[in-house]
Structures are given as structure tokens and as C-alpha cells.
């Protein structure tokens, strides 16, 4: 029997008992559909994160924190007090200073001396009171601390620069309240930021709007350039008691442009030896991706369990089919059909059922998923432009179909073997 004839007969046979085939196909459909959707969510979210990471652009940056002090072994009592240890003063409205795990000025110089690091800036928390444009009213503002080292997704204007002028980057959501007509009309305008110093005296600092950015996952507030940040931080620290040693929770360390991963690894290793933790932006987002990957993995596992259950459905369907067609198998064997061909006939039938279920499942998954994804993008997730919850990668769809067909083939092994081993005489005598 030729392969094509065998395949055609197998396909024909699956449609002989339509109800039974349909029910088995539905079982596989459910598994394949779930797998398609979950893998699409995985692709969609990780693609979104990838574009976010790409928008960050500069890889020559590390967030440096001090390693937490080694926890005291239980029962050994509290650690000895170290008066030289800095406390966090980066914040303005801080509570009682939390000691430990804070970078002091000495730490910063130590970090700056690490081979490969070109400069270190402590991350200072700026707490402005309000922002105002002309006489359009005062509005609360939050500062986007990541603004200096990320590339904003611009609606108008340009990125923040290293100039010695004060520059701000406004999110699109601020425009209407502040009294701007649109993104383009806001660019180049002068805004005023008010901030209190240590004594509670209000200072006003002027800055120019250089650009307007779309709202994204990472960039939430108003972006300030380094010059403006330094100025506001200086204003904020006015009147601070000289005895209070300044300390910072986080510092940003720059390296030479476009460092290789081995260079980054070397820097991280040195920092670690010195008692600091250095993380690149990719590291931090990578952790996020790992969590999402884990969730998707669990969902996929459920889908695979559904598919394995469906595999037993295939076994059952084919066993019934073999039972019903005992005489037919006997006849074919009597007419000189080899056991291998009979085996092939039944396992191809199993594979075809698997293909049918997975192809329909994938097709419906793609259709329904695209629809839901588009609706979500336009409504609930409209605040996150560029996010498509589900993205269907052809490679993963093909993989799903092939995996399901492989499961179906394995499921078909038992019935196909039973059919292949039948003795033509016993099969023909079978009542």
C-alpha cells in the first residue's frame, strides 16, 4: 500500500464515526486552544517588555546598592553599633533614619574607583510641591527617577540632554491640566517647579519643556535632566544640619559606552567583592520576565495536562475503532497487507485526529485571542500603548500543532499495535 493511499484511508476512516471523532477532537481542541492562548500571552508580554528594554537603550548603566549587612546568627544578639555608618537622607520627609544598607559619600568614592566605572551619581529623591505653567494653576507632580537614563517614547520634542540648562519631559497626561493645547505646542515652553527646603521654605525653579512622552510601563512622571535634578536636590538640602551624614539608597554608576557582557560581569563581580550589588536595567527587567515566564509556564503545564487527558481520549477512540473494524483488519491482512502498514494506518489516524484538534484549536485561539487582545488594547489597556496582550508567533503555533500530533501518535501506539498484531483468521472469525 502506498503512503498516500494509507494516509487517505486513515483520514477517511476518522470520518467514519463522526460523533466519536468529534468528541475526541473537542478534547484535543481544548488543550490546543489553551496552549495557543497562553503561549500568545507569553509572547505578547515578553515582546512588550523587550520593546521597553530596547527603549531604555543605554546599557552602560548599573544601579548600585549596598549589600544588606550579614544577618546576625540567631541567638548571637544585636550587632555592634557603627557610628560611621550612614543613614538615608536622600528623602525629604523621612522618618527615623533607617541605619544600614545605605550608601555614604565614602561608599560613592569607593564605587567610583571600581575599574570600568566612569562616574557615579547618587539617586536623590526629589519631592517637589507642585508644577505650574504660566497662570494655569498649580498641580501636584511626581518625578520619573528613571528619566535620565531611559529613552522616552516621544510624542513631540526631543530627549532630555546633558546641557547646563533646566529641562523637563512631560507625560502626555499632564498637558491638558497644565493648560497646554497639545504635545507640539508644549515644547519649548517655560514651566515652574516649586520645592520646600529642609526648613520648610518654598523655592521656585524654572525649567524648559524639551519634549512630551507617551505614557509607558516604566516612565510614570515628569522627567528631569541631571542639571535640574542637581539644582532641586541642592535646594531641597538647604538648611540641613551639618552633623547629619548624607546617605543614599541607590546610586547610578556609568561605564564606558557599549560595554560587553564580560566587562559588565567583571564590574558586578568587583562591586560584589566590595560589598555592593550592581544591577543593569536588563537584570532588573529580566527578573520581571522570569516571573512572567513562570506564570506562563504553569498555565502551559495545565494545557499540557489537558492534552494528556485528551491523549487517553484518542486511545479510547482508536481502541473502539480497532474493535469495530476487527473483521476489516482481518480482511486486509488476509489480502496481504503487512502488520507494519496496519500499524501505520491506525497511528496515522491518531495523528490526524491530533492534527485536526490542534489545528482547529490554534485557529480558533488565534481568531478569538486577536479579537480579545485588540478590544483590551483599545479599552482597559489603552494606557499602555504598544501592549498587545496576545501575540501569535507562527513558530510557537507550529510547535504546538507538532507537539499535539506527537502526543496523538504516542496515544495511537497501543491501539495500532493491537490492530497490527491481529491474526487474520481470528479477526475474520470475530463475531
Amino acid at each position: 500500500m502506498k503512503f498516500l493511499d494509507l494516509l487517505r484511508s486513515a483520514i477517511g476512516n476518522t470520518f467514519r464515526s463522526k460523533l466519536r471523532t468529534t468528541l475526541t477532537v473537542i478534547a484535543i481542541f481544548i488543550g490546543a486552544f489553551t496552549l495557543t492562548i497562553t503561549s500568545a500571552i507569553g509572547t505578547g508580554i515578553s515582546n512588550y517588555i523587550d520593546t521597553q528594554v530596547a527603549s531604555i537603550g543605554s546599557t552602560n548603566m548599573l544601579t548600585v546598592t549596598k549589600k544588606a549587612d550579614a544577618p546576625q546568627a540567631a541567638g548571637s544578639g544585636p550587632a555592634k553599633y557603627n557610628p560611621a555608618q550612614a543613614t538615608d537622607s536622600s528623602g525629604f520627609d523621612r522618618g527615623p533614619a533607617a541605619s544600614g544598607a545605605v550608601l555614604s559619600k565614602a561608599d560613592l568614592t569607593k564605587i567610583a574607583r571600581v575599574k570600568g566605572i566612569t562616574s557615579v551619581h547618587p539617586v536623590v529623591q526629589i519631592s517637589p510641591k507642585y508644577i505650574e505653567y504660566a497662570n494655569h494653576g498649580k498641580y501636584q507632580m511626581t518625578v520619573n527617577i528613571a528619566a535620565t537614563f531611559t529613552k522616552a517614547d516621544l510624542a513631540a520634542g526631543s530627549q532630555l540632554g546633558d546641557a547646563n540648562t533646566n529641562e523637563v519631559l512631560l507625560p502626555t497626561s499632564y498637558l491638558k491640566n497644565l493648560g497646554f493645547g497639545g504635545a507640539h505646542s508644549a515644547v519649548g515652553k517655560q514651566v515652574t517647579i516649586a520645592i520646600d527646603d529642609y526648613q520648610g521654605v518654598e523655592h521656585r525653579v524654572d525649567a524648559t519643556v524639551v519634549g512630551v512622552q507617551n505614557t509607558t510601563l516604566l516612565n510614570g512622571g515628569v522627567g528631569l535632566n541631571q542639571n535640574l535634578t542637581d539644582q532641586l536636590s541642592e535646594v531641597q538640602a538647604t538648611g540641613r544640619p551639618a552633623t547629619l551624614a548624607p546617605g543614599y539608597a541607590v546610586a547610578m554608576a556609568h561605564t564606558a559606552k557599549n560595554p560587553t557582557s564580560t566587562q559588565i560581569d567583571a564590574i558586578k563581580k568587583t562591586l560584589s567583592a566590595e560589598g555592593y550589588t550592581g544591577l543593569t536595567v536588563a537584570d532588573q527587567i529580566g527578573a520581571f520576565q522570569t516571573v512572567i515566564g513562570g506564570i506562563i509556564g504553569v498555565l502551559n503545564a495545565f494545557a499540557v495536562i489537558a492534552l494528556i487527558a485528551a491523549g487517553f481520549g484518542i486511545i479510547n477512540t482508536l481502541l473502539m475503532s480497532v474493535q469495530e473494524r476487527t473483521r476489516e483488519i482481518g480482511l486486509m491482512k488476509a489480502m496481504g497487507m503487512g502488520g507494519g502498514k496496519v500499524y501505520g494506518l491506525f497511528s496515522m489516524e491518531a495523528v490526524f485526529i491530533g492534527f485536526l484538534g490542534s489545528a482547529i484549536g490554534a485557529a480558533v485561539g488565534i481568531g478569538l485571542g486577536s479579537l480579545i487582545s485588540n478590544v483590551l488594547s483599545d479599552t482597559v489597556l489603552s494606557g499602555l500603548p504598544g501592549l498587545h496582550v496576545m501575540q501569535f508567533a507562527p513558530a510557537s503555533i507550529v510547535t504546538i500543532i507538532l507537539v499535539v500530533m506527537a502526543i496523538a501518535f504516542l496515544a495511537g501506539t497501543l491501539p495500532a499495535r493491537r490492530a497490527a498484531r491481529q491474526n487474520p483468521i481470528d479477526a475474520l472469525r470475530y463475531e
Binding site: S9, E328, G330, L331, M332, M335, G336
Partner: protein
């Protein structure tokens, strides 16, 4: 000359005869077309056709099947049942042989062994002088597919499939191309005057028509022997006779050897030779009575 003693339908059945004459001519062409067959490296076809016409054959024996002391039992221990206890026989080419016996006598088992559907526990079987035990599984399958035709009492037609698809089955197994096998199947159906039923479902036919489809299926691969197990068992007398006529004319016109298993004495009488089986052995008394009568 066993063939001559066969009752063959001739002029007394003119309408069917016309169809068969046409079919017989076709068959002759087909035999010429499909004579060379490859039997795989190193294997010889024990049924390779002789270069001269069958009618020129001298009276000398030319056995297609030779069986020596065939034993076959089923089960083991207490439930052991000896179906055959040493049967020997020879079937000549072009012969019509009836294997006669009551149900449970072992006649079906004997046919299964002769048709290579089963293997004997003891004894030897020779196909044109070649020991069946030396045939590989593949060779056995090829033999059953190309040289044997099967007609069963219960028809064993695939329900739901069309008549022509049922007839095609042996050719499909043989790996014949779809156009070619369709042509041959329609030819075989035409020979049995069923061409107009080709597209009908096999299950929608009457008993006699079904058995004719089965014969077409047995015939389609141009076999040298047809094994028929109670071919008329499920048919009424009139249609049964019709089916018998067809089988015997195949023997007459195409030289196909017939091995018919039956308990129907009338059918057995029409055959050139009868082998009586009783309790797993050849029954000599029956055979002697026959000679005396």
C-alpha cells in the same frame, strides 16, 4: 482430467454468458499485461506463469498445492482441540476441488492453512514445490495479495464504502496507482455485470450482488487460485446457483484454480474432485462411496 468432469454453465445461460465472454477476453489481455511481477531480491515466485497456454498442457500433473500430514490444534491442556490430525492432499493447476465436511470437521482450518492464513503445527505445505515455511512474511503477504483470491460466506465488505472501493482494496494493498486500479476494478465489476452499481454503497446491495462484489474483489488482482469458504452459504438457491456458475466459469475461461469449502453436497458435486474431512482427518469411506457410485 478433473476439469472436464466439472459442470460448467454454457449456452443454457446466454444472457450472463455474453458478459463473461467480454470479460474473458479482457482477462486474457490482463494476464499478458501483468505477467511479469517482481518478487523481491532472491525470492522466486512459486506461481510464475508458464510460457505456454494452459489448454496446450498435457494431462500430466502440475500441482499448485501439496500438503503433507497437516496438523493443527487450538488451545492447550484440557481445552486443547485438534482441528486437523494429519491431512494430506494435492491440488492440480486449473482444478476445482471441494473440501467437504460438517461444521467442526476442520475443513475451514484446512482451507486457512492452504491459503497461508495460518501456519500448521506439524506437516509441510508446498506451493508449486516451494515449502511454505521458507517463505518470508513479506513473500507470504505478496502471495496472498497477488495469487490468491478470497470469497467468504459473510462477504466481509467494508460497510459505508462504495462497491468500487471495496473491489479496489487488494489493488490498493498491492500499491497499484489510483487510475490503473480504478480501471481494473470497473473491469472486474463489468465482468460480473455490476458496473452500474459501482458507486452504490456495498451495504445497499442484495445478498447475491454482495457475493458478486466479493468475487470481483477476489478476481481484481488476477489470481491463480480462488479460495471460497461457503460461497453460497448466505444465499438462496437461485442466487447461490448464479454465484456458483460465475465461479465455475472463471475456472473454465480463465483457468483459475478453485478451492471451495462447503457442506452443500450439490455444490460439491459440481466440482472436479471432493475431499471429505471428518474429525480432522480425510474420510476414506465417503471417498470410496463416491467411487462406487
Amino acid at each position: 482430467m478433473p476439469r472436464d468432469s466439472c459442470t460448467v454453465p454454457g449456452a443454457e445461460n446466454p444472457p450472463r454468458d455474453r458478459g463473461l465472454s467480454a470479460g474473458a477476453q479482457n482477462a486474457a489481455v490482463r494476464m499478458a499485461l501483468h505477467a511479469p511481477r517482481s518478487y523481491g531480491a532472491g525470492a522466486t515466485n512459486p506461481f510464475s506463469r508458464l510460457p505456454y497456454s494452459r489448454d496446450d498442457l498435457p494431462v500430466t500433473t502440475n500441482p499448485v498445492l501439496t500438503a503433507h500430514a497437516l496438523h493443527k490444534s487450538y488451545g492447550a491442556g484440557e481445552s486443547r482441540f485438534d482441528a486437523l490430525k494429519g491431512v494430506s492432499l494435492t491440488v492440480e493447476e486449473g482444478e476445482t476441488v471441494a473440501i467437504v465436511g460438517k461444521s467442526g470437521s476442520g475443513k475451514s482450518t484446512l482451507m486457512h492453512l492452504l491459503a497461508l492464513l495460518d501456519t500448521p503445527d506439524e506437516g509441510e505445505l508446498f506451493l508449486r514445490g516451494k515449502n511454505a515455511r521458507t517463505l518470508s512474511r513479506r513473500e507470504t503477504n505478496r502471495l496472498r495479495n497477488r495469487d490468491f483470491g478470497f470469497v467468504f460466506q459473510q462477504f466481509f465488505l467494508t460497510p459505508g464504502a462504495s462497491v468500487v472501493d471495496n473491489v479496489i482494496l487488494p489493488l490498493k494493498i498491492a500499491g497499484v496507482g489510483s487510475r490503473e486500479r480504478r480501471r481494473r476494478a470497473l473491469e472486474a465489476l463489468d465482468q460480473l455485470e455490476l458496473a452500474d452499481k459501482a458507486k452504490n454503497k456495498a451495504t445497499d446491495l442484495s445478498g447475491g450482488q454482495k457475493q458478486r462484489v466479493v468475487i470481483a474483489r477476489a478476481l481484481v488482482n488476477n489470481p491463480t487460485i480462488i479460495f471460497a469458504d461457503e460461497p453460497t452459504g448466505n444465499l438462496d438457491t437461485a442466487t447461490g446457483t448464479l454465484v456458483e456458475d460465475i465461479l465455475f466459469s472463471l475456472n473454465e475461461r480463465q483457468g483459475i484454480t478453485l478451492v471451495i469449502v462447503t457442506h452443500d453436497t450439490e455444490l460439491a458435486e459440481r466440482c472436479g474432485r471432493r475431499i471429505f474431512i471428518k474429525d480432522g482427518l480425510e474420510d476414506p469411506t465417503q471417498a470410496r462411496q463416491e467411487v462406487e457410485s
